[in-house]
Amino acid sequence: MKILVAVKRVIDYNVKVRVKADQSDVDLANVKMALNPFCEIAVEEAVRLKEKGIADEVVVVSIGPKAVQEQLRTALALGADRAIQVETDDMPDSLAVAKILKGVVEKEEPQLVILGKQAIDSDNNQTGQMLGALTGMPQGTFASKVDMAEGSVNVTREVDGGLQTVKLQLPAIVTTDLRLNEPRYASLPNIMKAKRKPLDVTTADELGVNVSRTVKLLKVEPPAERSAGVKVADVAELVDKLKNEAKVL
């Protein structure tokens, strides 16, 4: 079985973002970039399925400028077999990404496509579901457990009230939640080996996808600052302040 994993290059999750002075966007110049944490979990799950002998090939794909090759190499070092970069000048929106991935799915014909549930930059939580709609595949979003069976997969999903399990016929789409697994670190020898693994470059044009946006970004602002608070000495003072000053008790 072949598994396709989509990964995204995003700002490192520990970095505190700064909005540009002209409010056109956040400032990404000279900021540390990394593999989106949910994508890391997706790669890990695919590699574990390979280690269990369920999958025989793990293909990773990323969309964007040449810099995304860095994240593809990371995924290769974590255990993926082969990488595909779909070269675009900038980061397309979720619908365009889903259309590009549909093109890759048609070419590669994977039995399982694993994505992260959301990217921590745009916080959209859309791509996996959109790919499901475009390819007609069933989806198991926010997965905390993936059980492969013959011709199907049982996905336990994190929903608002607890957990829900759905059974999906293959080929299917899974989007990962945080608790699905704990991603491994890439070892130095694996990082070296990853440099020799195949990485193909294609373009959105070759896949016949138009990446124009219909949602325009007008302005980006920092969130409203909270006014500085006070430290209280003990519980009595805290309760007093909550009752008489903040009036929330």
């Binding site: 959209n124 859309q126 989806q139 929903v159 607890g162 059974k167 016929q169 519980v235 309760v239 903040a246």
Partner: protein, 309 residues
């Protein structure tokens, strides 16, 4: 242009997030129809028909919609949604699951998790874990939107008198099926709707110690939440997690106990009206957003707090 709002419910009761989504629809302006899709959910349709500003309720009552599978619900909403200018649903796990399918089937983009309506085509939404607020304008003919419920005040649940009309379209699929669910039992108010929330983090040390929080919560009528560290350590179930990847809350009062205040946690609670931090590390980042901070050992403070209330 008219608006279609998708009701969130459990087949028995309407989720209050729907009333907040109706407030966002009202801000956009136009006739508002509500779709109630589920199984045996007539009572939900009757309930939403009474909500303020609802023009018409469309009821799709069929076993195919009983578990809100995205494959069925997404196709149904895309079908019905063709006649509307806007399609809105709350940004709950259900809404997040099926709405992007709707958008892709209609070949339009989706605007996720809006926190404000600037005009019928312009919205504000948080990005980068709430560290930046983007204003976006959609040029799509049909605008597919999920709404962050905590950012809007609910419309009145009573006073409306909309008609309920049955939808006969049945969309089923043979590629996905519901197997089972494990829902967490709780007597306390729902985390996202509670006016007071008290949350514990890694500092709680173990699951048993959460009863110290529960005692305080009972005195306050509060819901109990947790940070990711507490969930990952297995102290409490994951549906209690507050943060970028968990639930977004905005109560009147949020009490963070033994929580350092990582960016991802703040994304889930920093719009609370009053924030209290109890932590023994006075350098903890949580104190930068807290209105009231108490530097002390939580094991001393929680029993005292329970006594004082």
């Amino acid at each position: 242009m008219s608006i279609l709002v998708i009701a969130e419910h459990d087949n028995k009761e309407l989720n209050p997030a729907t009333l907040k989504t109706l407030a966002a629809a009202k801000a956009i302006g136009g006739d508002i129809d509500v779709l109630v899709a589920g199984e045996g959910c007539q009572a939900v349709a009757d309930e939403v028909a009474k909500a303020e500003g609802v023009n018409k309720v469309r009821l799709a009552d069929n076993a195919a919609y009983g578990h809100f599978l995205a494959e069925n619900l997404g196709t149904l909403v895309a079908e019905l949604g063709k006649d509307y200018g806007h399609i809105l649903a709350p940004a709950t796990t259900t809404g997040k699951n099926f709405m992007p399918r709707v958008a892709a089937l209609l070949d339009v983009a989706q605007v996720s998790d809006i926190i404000a309506v600037e005009s019928a085509d312009t919205f504000k939404r948080p990005i980068y874990a709430g560290n930046a607020i983007a204003t976006v304008q959609s040029e799509d003919a049909i605008k597919v939107i999920t709404v962050r419920a905590t950012a809007f005040d609910a419309v009145a649940a009573e006073g409306g008198n909309a008609s309920v009309e049955a939808v006969d379209t049945v969309i089923d699929n043979d590629k996905s099926e519901f197997v089972g669910e494990e829902l967490a039992e709780s007597e306390r108010p729902d985390l996202t709707a509670a006016s007071v929330v008290i949350s514990g983090g890694r500092g709680m040390q173990n699951g048993e110690n959460f009863h110290l929080l529960e005692k305080v919560a009972d005195k306050l009528g509060a819901a109990v939440g947790a940070s990711r560290a507490a969930v990952d350590a297995g102290f409490v179930p994951n549906d209690m997690q507050v943060g970028q990847t968990g639930k977004i809350v905005a109560p009147e009062l949020y009490i963070a106990v033994g929580i350092s205040g990582a960016i991802q946690h703040l994304a889930g609670m920093k719009d609370s009206k009053v924030i209290v931090a109890i932590n023994k590390d006075e350098e903890a980042p949580i104190f930068q957003v807290a209105d009231y901070g108490l530097v002390a050992d939580l094991f001393d403070v929680l029993p005292e707090l329970e006594q004082a209330l």
